[in-house]
């Protein structure tokens, strides 16, 4: 970091900072992408990788910092400026025009004559050995084909720097292989690439350099030869990994013997996951870890009746509830606290008490027609007291609360129906540290009350801290199952990134 950066060739990023509101995402990024190199950018969820490449592409504007192409300081800030400098981003989900043909998609935004462009395009396709019918509509293409179209778009713009954001996350094995071949070809042609990935073995397969991002900083950087997989995993772990209290001090072991599981999932298949089996016991917290896109959200959405089950069974207390609608699932006693409070969880312009009791609207508890406001307030007050929610009045709008307190209300709401199973999806995302401790306490209270808790979390520390047992999901399948004393950050991180590693990485 102290040595002067050599800006002779390629792309150089210096001191990039970016905040969204009070949330600091990038804290000063330095990154160098030499000409003809493939820099693998890895890091956990929320490390800021996508934000960084969006700044380079001009979709976001940096608060501070500079970007150079060779010696030249770039003035970025809108995509057209980045395109003019030869930077092209192939986004994670390809952003094609679905109703246009492949040809129209590739040539959109160019000034030159169509015939000239087409000739150039054919040359590029020939050079890379692509075979694609240019008259097909984009919405008939597979994801892999869409990515090829995106790459062609980049090449047509004479891109010097190509950014690939998790290009393999939706590809099959053979598609991955042909993509790698393309990457190799491009590398030979002197095109630099930033390659974001969650799969560490890909790093060693195609990258020349590697950079690890953590909490908005690049913590480790260098030629790929200097690294081993273990070093990368260690680099991905939080700094204070050894220091942290993993919660085992005050952990109360659970007696599983003679206890029947409340929720039995067998060979469940659905959109985005396959062959998932696990048991959930009353009074335990089962953590589901994995990276974003591993299929965890799809799994719990399906259990909660929001998507179609393709195969397998879900049993609640011995009753087969496979394929039940959300309403039926709720009635059977499973409740769900969604990942995105604002989108699925809250009625923002209603009061705290209305929100707390909104799940009871269908029951007789608070009255059918003339709603019993006093009862509403009693119930709400009880949870406010239990959870130490900071409020001024129960009649205040829920939008006036902080994120952590909003989350407490959402959890309170799901508890008001006295569920047997509570599913929590990312329970502390976007919540500050103090409120986080309160939410953890609430989750522990649930457990003590005998509620079975299924907790999806991308925050590995959270799983380590709370879970009695944990499973990891990788590419839609369970690839690891851990008892309480086996749960460590190393094991979960390795498994989340798809690496089978029985023993902990030596420190």
């Amino acid at each position: 970091m102290n040595e002067p950066l050599n800006k002779a060739s390629g792309l150089t990023v210096r001191g990039i900072k970016k905040s969204f509101g009070i949330n600091v995402v990038l804290k000063g990024i330095d990154l160098q992408v030499p000409q003809g190199s493939v820099v693998a950018l890895i890091g956990g969820n929320g490390a800021g990788k996508s934000t960084l490449v969006k700044i380079i592409m001009g979709i976001y504007q940096a608060d501070e910092g500079e970007i150079y192409m060779g010696e030249k300081l770039l003035k970025l800030g809108k995509p057209s400026a980045s395109l003019a400098e030869g930077i092209y981003l192939v986004p994670q989900e390809p952003l094609l025009f679905p109703n246009m043909t492949v040809l129209e998609n590739i040539l959109m935004g160019f000034n030159e004559k169509e015939a000239d462009l087409k000739k150039r395009l054919e040359k590029h396709m020939e050079g890379l050995g692509f075979n694609l019918n240019l008259q097909r509509k984009a919405n008939t293409l597979s994801i892999a084909e869409q990515q090829l179209v995106e790459i062609l778009r980049g090449l047509m713009r004479e891109a010097k720097v190509l950014i690939l954001d998790e290009p393999t996350s939706a590809l099959t094995f053979s598609e991955v292989q042909s993509l790698f071949k393309v990457v190799q070809d491009l590398k030979q042609k002197g095109i630099s690439m930033i390659y974001i990935t969650h799969r560490l073995n890909e790093v060693f397969e195609i990258a020349t350099n590697v950079a690890i991002m953590k909490d908005g900083l690049i913590t480790l950087e260098g030629p790929v030869e200097n690294f081993t997989k273990e070093m990368l995993i260690r680099g991905l772990l939080p700094d204070d990994a050894e220091m942290r209290d993993d919660g085992s001090g005050n952990y109360k072991a659970i007696q599983y013997e003679g206890v029947e599981p409340v929720l039995k999932v067998r060979n469940l298949c659905g959109y985005g996951f396959a062959d998932i089996s696990f048991d959930l016991y009353p009074g335990e917290i089962l953590g589901i870890a994995g990276v974003v896109g591993a299929g965890r959200t799809e799994l719990i959405s399906t259990i909660f009746g929001r998507d179609k089950t393709l195969n397998g069974t879900v049993e609640l207390d011995g009753k087969d509830i496979t394929g039940y609608s959300t309403k039926q699932v709720l009635q059977e006693g499973i409740n769900f606290v969604p990942e995105d409070r604002h989108y699925h969880g809250l009625f923002k312009i209603r009061s705290i008490s209305s929100n707390t009791t909104s799940a009871l609207l269908g029951s007789k508890e608070i009255g059918r027609i003339d709603m019993n406001r006093r009862r509403q307030k009693e119930i709400s007050q009880k949870y406010v007291d239990d959870f130490r929610t900071k409020i001024v009045s129960l009649d205040d709008l829920i939008g006036s609360l902080s994120g952590g307190n909003q989350q407490k209300v959402v959890i309170a709401r799901s508890l008001s129906t006295q569920p047997k199973v509570v599913i929590l999806d990312e329970p502390t995302r976007g919540i500050d540290a103090a409120a986080r401790a309160d939410v953890y306490n609430i989750i522990r209270q649930l457990k003590e009350a005998g509620v079975a808790v299924l907790m999806v979390s991308s925050d590995i520390e959270e799983v380590v801290e709370l879970a009695d047992r944990a499973i990891t999901v990788f590419q839609g399948r369970i690839n690891g199952e851990f008892q309480h004393d086996e749960i460590t950050q190393d094991v979960l991180t390795s498994a989340s990134f798809g690496i089978k590693n029985e023993k902990a990485v030596e420190q």
Partner: protein, 335 residues
Amino acid sequence: MKNLLKARWMSSLIFLVVLFIITGIVDPSFFKYSSIIGCFNNATMYTLLAIGIAFVIMTGEIDVSIGATLGLTAAMTGLIAQQDGSVVTMIAVCIGVGALVGLVNGLGVALFGVPSLIFTLGTNGIIRGLIFLVSDGRTVENFNGTIGAYGNKVLFAEITLFYTIAIALVAIAHIVLTKTRKGKYFIAVGDNAGGANLVGINVKSTKLLAYVLCGMFAGLGGFVFASKYGQVMTVAGNGYEMTAIAACVLGGISLSGGLGNMIGAAIGAVIMASISRLLVFIGLPPTYDNTITGIMLIVIVVVDALAQRRSIEMSRRKRLLSRTATSATEGGLEA
């Protein structure tokens, strides 16, 4: 030829022909050159409105103020005619006022991000108020004969001058939209705004331009209205926005943007203009007009939306399924 048959507007054309045939069967006196050409001539105003709003709909937005813009510019045309103003002045004022309204709509929607239905509903109210202001709340009438002569002027084979101009504008708009670089931006923005941004298209200014064009076409519609009817009531143009939207939708333009073309919009305009005439032939009172327009609009939009949602859901599921297929072939990795 094969492409021609597959085009979305082809089904609109078939719909129009079927409509004519049914009417002709119920009342054979409809099968006359003048009756059928009359349906086309009658569509002049709707055609102009439909071309304009098609630009906006293709970018994925909507404009419900065009009926009011048509009313305002029609009233202003009448007032200028009363002062013996020239036709050039009238057309310039119509287009200018329309462009101004479009600019306001475009700024509100594209720049400030107000939902387009709400924003243009607001400008619709303002413009309706302005009509009362400029006309003193009275019907503008008794303007000099100069423009009345244009209103029903026949160019050739019973086709009016105005319809010929409207068709020429359809052709120009179609070429701009499909052949020019900037023209393709309108469809690109409606098809995938994020993707358009990524290839360097300025999404905001494209939408702004769409609104300005839409206002200008509504202004032209106002001129046609004034010269055709020779009097402009304060409620002139009321409900024309629904007719124009229905025309676009009937012509195969998707309300979610990014799909359709101007030929479809023009055919849709003829269908909309014909329906009230055809009702008379069939023997239904024209009071059913709005009801039938509304029903057609809803049916087509719902079918279109369901088809769209289904295709999005299918591709999401396919994508998710391919993820699990990956791990089956790749298996676990050893450290």
